[in-house]
């Protein structure tokens, strides 16, 4: 039999990866040390011999750690009874040939195929997949390949204990944004790990990839009107997707934060990471909190940026109402804003009434791809648009004049930006979004509450009760010992700062809470001060970070009333 040298090298890499798996915990850095030497061994056969030695070394260390047995005696016994190494080797060769289920966490490194990657970034990227069990309770159910990208810190050597960033959604892709993430590291001296959660981005499974397109009309109809037929139409589209997924052999019970958390843990082991720093943003905080609750020993620190707490949650419309009121109150206190818009809250309420009577038809540019390049701004659409803009501090300077512009019936001016908002919103994989939310959120299995507004109708009421049973629920790590930093924005339309503070109090003494004035959802994304505080905290989680910059946030430079040119 002839074996290509490439194959020797591949086996060497797989054996070294296996050694990493054998040596988790305190010895993980040793496994990484052995593995990295492979890159300095030019000869492929020598590399394979080196990797076989790594296996032996890792088992020796593992056995020593397990007990007071002499590793030599244990190995001698194993060799005499059939050859431990032979079994390991055969198992791994089987893996190398392509397995149907992952017997253990492995990182299969591939070439990086990512957009917008500058040449100087390329050497810092490691891309690959990790096969995770479809069903953690049934190892024979096969696996899903998750896309994983490791961005090595710009300054080498990296500090130990990398950062795992867990993005929002659920359902949003992440690895496709690796180039952006590399430019804005969470802790610049540490490696950054990105994972497309199951059913998102480049990770399997592809759950109803055409759902976003099919839902475009239905979602727009729901944003525009509270009519029952709009809700029924959306439900029909979702249920067709559900049937399609089940027809393809997918079990919708294999989704939800509790599953996602096990995926992350699997990825951690596959990468040979002993402990990592977890940065959760928005829905990512739901995952991060559950991860801290279930796998605290693998976590050095956690940042919860704009918490999305587990159920029970208030109605979304009530949370947005509070955020909106806080923004209007700020306008009242601001010299420029109050001069141009003396009672923005009243203007807002009056606009809703006017639009109820006479919706405003606004012309949009063709790139917004609206039928006949027009949008009819109803009261519901207006409410949704204002709510969405509260996410983004860079929209705050113009938000009062947008509201005033719609109020005045000006279809040409700033109203167009507001009308375009629902069409411009980023669409995650909506099927995965439903698959996770319906497992995580029992309240979505109830009927749409009385008094619900458009903001509640956009939730998955009327979908979840037909989609799947609620699953095991996400957790708040009450009493956790892991150092945790909670960041909250004053105008966050997803979670009230008071709710985030409450979660921090539930966690206990290990949690520090920082509220950022004049910020909405996703603090770090919009606040250099938040970025600095988070980075300091990740590098020194046992110390109280200097949060004084949060008290010196630059004021909003409100734009004056729009005057038609």
């Amino acid at each position: 039999m002839t074996v290509s040298t490439d194959l020797w090298r591949q086996w060497a890499v797989k054996l070294a990866q296996h050694a990493s798996w054998v040596l988790p915990g305190a010895h993980a850095s040793w496994a990484e040390a052995m593995r990295r030497e492979l890159d300095y061994i030019a000869d492929d056969r020598t590399a394979l011999r080196w990797a076989l030695g790594c296996i032996l070394a890792s088992y020796k260390a593992r056995l020593t750690a397990w007990s007071g047995f002499s590793p030599r005696a244990v190995l001698r016994q194993a060799a005499a009874s059939g050859g431990l190494m032979l079994l390991i080797g055969l198992g791994l060769l089987e893996n190398a040939g392509g397995q149907t289920k992952p017997p253990r966490p492995l990182f299969n490194e591939t070439t990086c195929d990512l957009p917008n990657v500058a040449p100087d970034l390329r050497p810092r990227l490691r891309c690959g997949t990790v096969g995770v069990p479809r069903d953690y309770d049934n190892p024979d159910a096969g696996h899903f390949n998750l896309a994983v990208v490791v961005i090595k810190s710009e300054q080498q050597p990296s500090w130990p204990e990398p950062v795992i960033y867990i993005n929002g959604g659920p359902g949003a892709p992440l690895t496709v944004y690796a180039a952006y993430q590399a430019r804005t590291p969470y802790a610049p001296r540490r490696d950054l790990i990105l994972v497309d959660q199951r059913g998102t981005g480049r990770s399997e499974p592809s759950l109803c990839p055409d759902l976003e397109r099919k839902l475009l009309d239905a979602n727009f109809a729901i944003a525009a009107s509270a009519a029952d037929d709009a809700i029924a139409a959306r439900q029909a589209v979702y249920l067709a997707c559900r049937d399609q997924a089940i027809g393809r052999g997918l079990d919708l019970r294999n989704f939800g934060t509790r599953i996602t958390v096990e995926d992350f843990e699997w990825v951690r082991q596959a990468l040979g990471v002993e402990r990592w720093n977890v940065y959760g943003e928005s829905y990512g905080t739901t995952v991060a909190m559950t991860l801290v609750a279930l796998h605290p020993n693998a976590i050095r620190s956690a940042v919860l940026d704009s918490i999305y707490p587990p159920d029970p949650m208030p109605l979304q419309s009530a949370i947005v109402s509070d955020a909106r009121d806080a923004f209007f109150a700020h306008c009242r206190q601001d010299k420029v804003c109050s001069k141009s818009f003396p009672d923005l809250a009243e203007t807002y309420r009056d606009t809703l009434g006017r639009l109820d009577q006479n919706p405003l038809v606004v012309t949009l540019p063709p790139r917004m791809r609206q039928a006949e390049d027009r949008v009819t701004v109803t009261a519901s659409l207006f409410e949704a648009g204002v709510s969405d803009l509260l996410y983004y501090p860079n929209a705050y300077p113009a938000l009062p004049r947008m509201i005033q512009s719609v109020h005045d019936g000006d279809a040409q001016g700033p109203a167009t930006d507001l009308a375009a908002q629902p069409a411009a919103a980023e669409t995650p994989n909506l099927a995965t979004h439903a698959a996770v939310e319906c497992r995580d959120r029992p309240h979505l299995h109830a009927q749409l509450p009385v008094g619900a507004s458009v903001l509640d109708r956009r939730q998955l009421y009327g979908v979840c009760d037909r989609w799947s049973e609620p699953g095991p629920l996400p957790l708040v790590p009450v009493g956790a010992r892991v150092p945790i930093l909670v960041l909250a924005g004053q105008f966050d339309p997803v979670t009230r700062p008071a709710s985030s503070r409450h979660v921090a109090e539930l966690i206990g003494d290990s949690a520090r809470f920082v509220e950022f004035p004049l910020i909405g959802h996703n603090v770090r994304h919009f606040s250099p001060c938040g970025t600095r505080i988070a980075a300091d905290f990740i590098d020194h989680p046992a110390q109280a970070p200097d949060t004084s910059c949060a008290e010196r946030i630059a004021p909003i430079r409100f734009l004056p009333k729009y005057r038609t040119p």
Binding site: W30, R49, K152
Partner: protein
């Protein structure tokens, strides 16, 4: 109960000490040590781990010498490690002298 400290006077341990003490101020790579001592990785790394746990060896990550390569783990003896290595050298010399006299 703490595990008893393992002796470091095996042939392999002595070979490793000899290589490390030879250039005691230089940080050494695993593969280079393997080449110099003739130890296979399966023997070398358990020894390195053990010496490290006993406080005889220090390690750190060193930036790659060439771009595109990963950082490497490097090793050198601690002050205690150096003392032990010198003691071993003296013991070997003493044993050789004893042998010569016998």
């Amino acid at each position: 109960m703490p595990m008893p400290r393992k002796p470091n006077n095996s042939r392999q341990a002595r070979a490793l000490f000899a290589a490390l003490v030879d250039r005691s101020q230089t940080w050494r790579h695993g593969y280079d040590l393997a080449k110099e001592t003739g130890l296979k990785s399966g023997t070398l790394y358990p020894l390195l781990m053990r010496l490290s746990e006993q406080g005889l060896l220090e390690s750190r990550w060193q930036e790659a010498e060439r771009p595109g390569l990963p950082p490497r783990h490097v090793y050198r003896l601690t002050a205690s490690g150096l003392v032990l290595a010198r003691e071993q050298e003296l013991a070997v010399i003493a044993a050789e002298r004893a042998g010569a006299l016998a």
